[in-house]
Symmetry: C2
Subunit: 301 residues, 2 copies
C-alpha cells in the first residue's frame, strides 16, 4: 500500500463509451451540455464522441455536431474522438480535434464479431492511419479491449496483450488504454498485467479501464495503482453497459473513483460537486437508473 501515486489523471469516457451503449437517442444539445458540464468539473482528458457509421451506432449520428460544439481552438482539454477507420479519420481531419482514439480487441474472436476483422487485420488497417495522424501532430490513444478476458475465448494470455501493445507502441501510439471489457479481471490479474506493461513501456502513457460488472471495479483500480498506474478511464454516472453481461453494471463510475482516490489522499483535480451536476443533467435521458454509489446516496435511494 506504499508508493501510490500522489495524483491521478481520470479520462472521462461517459460521453462516448457511455452514451454509445444507450439505446434511446440522447438529444444533441443534451450531449453537448453534458460534455461542457464535465469540462467545468475539471476533466482535462475526455472521449467526446465517435465517428462510427450512424448505421451501426445511431446514437453517434450527431458526432460531427457534438465535436464542433465542444472542441475549440486552445481548449486545455484533450478531446478524444474515436475513429474506427479511414472514413472516420477523414471526418476527424475536418474538426479542431487533435487527439484520436482507436480500438482493437486483443481477442481475435471478439474483434471479428465486433468489426468483422481479425486483430491482425485491424492492426494492418489502423497502422497507416495512426502513422499519418501522428505525423500531423495528433495525440494517439489506442484502446485494447478484452485485454484480460473475452466473452468467447475466456482468459486472454498476458503475452498476447503485451505483444499487441508492442505493435501499437512501435507505430507511435502515445497512450494505451488497457480494458477489462467484460469486468472479469481479478485484482491480482490486474496487478500482474499492469506491472508487466509498466516495466515494458516506461515511456508510454498507460491507462487502466475497468468495469464494475462483478463489483471489483474499485478493487482493480487499487491493484493497478499499486502496479504504478496513474491514469484511469471512468464514466460519469457509470454510464455504459456491457452487452455481454445483461443487467450488469457498466464502466466504473467516475464519481465513485474520484471519491475513493481523494479519500486516499490521491489528487484527481475533479470537482465532485460539479461532476454531480453533470450526472444529474444527463440522468433523465438515460434508459436505466444511474448506479453510482454517489448518486444513490445523494438521492437517498
Amino acid at each position: 500500500m506504499n508508493n501510490l501515486p500522489r495524483s491521478v489523471t481520470i479520462i472521462e469516457v461517459g460521453p462516448r463509451d457511455g452514451l454509445q451503449n444507450e439505446k434511446g437517442f440522447v438529444p444533441t444539445e443534451r450531449k453537448i451540455a453534458f460534455i461542457l458540464a464535465l469540462k467545468r468539473a475539471g476533466f482535462r482528458e475526455m472521449e467526446v464522441t465517435s465517428f462510427v457509421s450512424p448505421k451501426w451506432v445511431p446514437q453517434m449520428k450527431d458526432a460531427g455536431e457534438v465535436a464542433e460544439a465542444v472542441i475549440s481552438e486552445g481548449d486545455p482539454v484533450r478531446n478524444f474522438i474515436l475513429v474506427p477507420n479511414r472514413k472516420g479519420v477523414e471526418r476527424f481531419r475536418k474538426t479542431k480535434a487533435k487527439a484520436a482514439a482507436f480500438f482493437v480487441g486483443v481477442s481475435d474472436t471478439f474483434n471479428q464479431k465486433n468489426i468483422n476483422r481479425t486483430t491482425e487485420e485491424s492492426l494492418h488497417e489502423l497502422a497507416p492511419l495512426i502513422k499519418d495522424l501522428k505525423a500531423e501532430g495528433c495525440f494517439i490513444r489506442v484502446c485494447l479491449s478484452t485485454a484480460f478476458y473475452c466473452p468467447f475465448e475466456g482468459r486472454v494470455p498476458e503475452e498476447k496483450t503485451v505483444r499487441l501493445a508492442e505493435a501499437f507502441a512501435a507505430l507511435g501510439a502515445d497512450e494505451l488504454s488497457v480494458a477489462d471489457t467484460i469486468g472479469m479481471a481479478s485484482p491480482d490479474e490486474s496487478y500482474s498485467l499492469f506491472k508487466k506493461l509498466k516495466e515494458r513501456f516506461p515511456d508510454l502513457l498507460l491507462t487502466a479501464h475497468f468495469h464494475d460488472t462483478r463489483k471489483m471495479g474499485l478493487a482493480n483500480i487499487l491493484a493497478a495503482l499499486q502496479a504504478g498506474i496513474d491514469r484511469f478511464d471512468a464514466s460519469a454516472g457509470g454510464l455504459g453497459g456491457c452487452p455481454f453481461a445483461p443487467g450488469a453494471s457498466g464502466n466504473v463510475a467516475t464519481e465513485d473513483v474520484v471519491y475513493m482516490l481523494e479519500r486516499m489522499g490521491i489528487r484527481t483535480n475533479i470537482d465532485r460537486e460539479k461532476l454531480a451536476e453533470a450526472v444529474d443533467g444527463i440522468a433523465p435521458f438515460l434508459s436505466r437508473p444511474v448506479e453510482s454509489a454517489d448518486y444513490r446516496l445523494r438521492k437517498g435511494g
Copy 2:
C-alpha cells in the same frame, strides 16, 4: 500483492446482521431454511440470531425458536448468537450454542444513541458476562462497530479502536470483528488499522467487516488481505442496510466476496452454487432487491 493468505474464513452474518435490518417480518421457517441452506453451502462460522429485546427488534422475536432449530449437538459450525446484555446471556445458556457475539461502538456517541450507554459503560457491563461465558467454555466474538467512522463524530482515531480492542482482548475475547459500520473507510485506512491490529494482537482472531455503501467493499477487503487479515464478515445477498445512509448498499455480499477471493486463488471452501440457492430462497421475503453482482448477473437484470 504478494504474501496474500492461501485460504480465508468467511463469517456469514446474513441471518443476524442482515435480517435484523429488514422491516417486514420474515417467517421463522424461512429464517431456519436460510440458515440450513447456508450451512449446506459450507459456512463453518455464522451469526444465526440475536437475543435482543423483541420490543426493540421485532424481527428477532423468534430467536429462541431459530436457535433451537439450527444449532445441534456436535454441529461443526460455530453458530454465533448475539447477546446484548445479562438477559441475553441467560437466554443463551438455555440453548446448545457455544459461541456468543457482543457488540460495542468505538464511538461514544454512536454507542449512546444505539444502546444508551457510553462505550466505557458498555465495556463495564459486558466484562463480567464475557468472563463468565468464557469460563463456561464459550467462544467469545466481540464486534467493534464504528471502528473507522461514526455518523455523528466523523473519523474515529485508530488509537481509540486499538485501546478498546485491548480491553476486550484482556477480558479473553477470542475474536474481534472490526467494522466499518457506515461504509466510509478507504482502502489505505483499512490497511493501516488492520496492520496495526495484526501486529498488536498476533494471537487473536481478527475479522474485517465492510459495507459496500461507497462501492469500496471489495477494495477494502483487498487492502485488509494485504495487511494480513484472513477472516471476513459478509452477508449472503448483501443483506443488511445501513440506517445512517438511506438507499445505500448493506454488508458486502458474500457471493461477491467469494467470487473475488476464489478468482484470486484464495480458498473459501464455500460452494457458490449452493450459496446462490440460499440467496434465492430468502430473496422473495426481503423488502428490497438483492444487490449482489452475482445475483444480478444470474437474473440478467
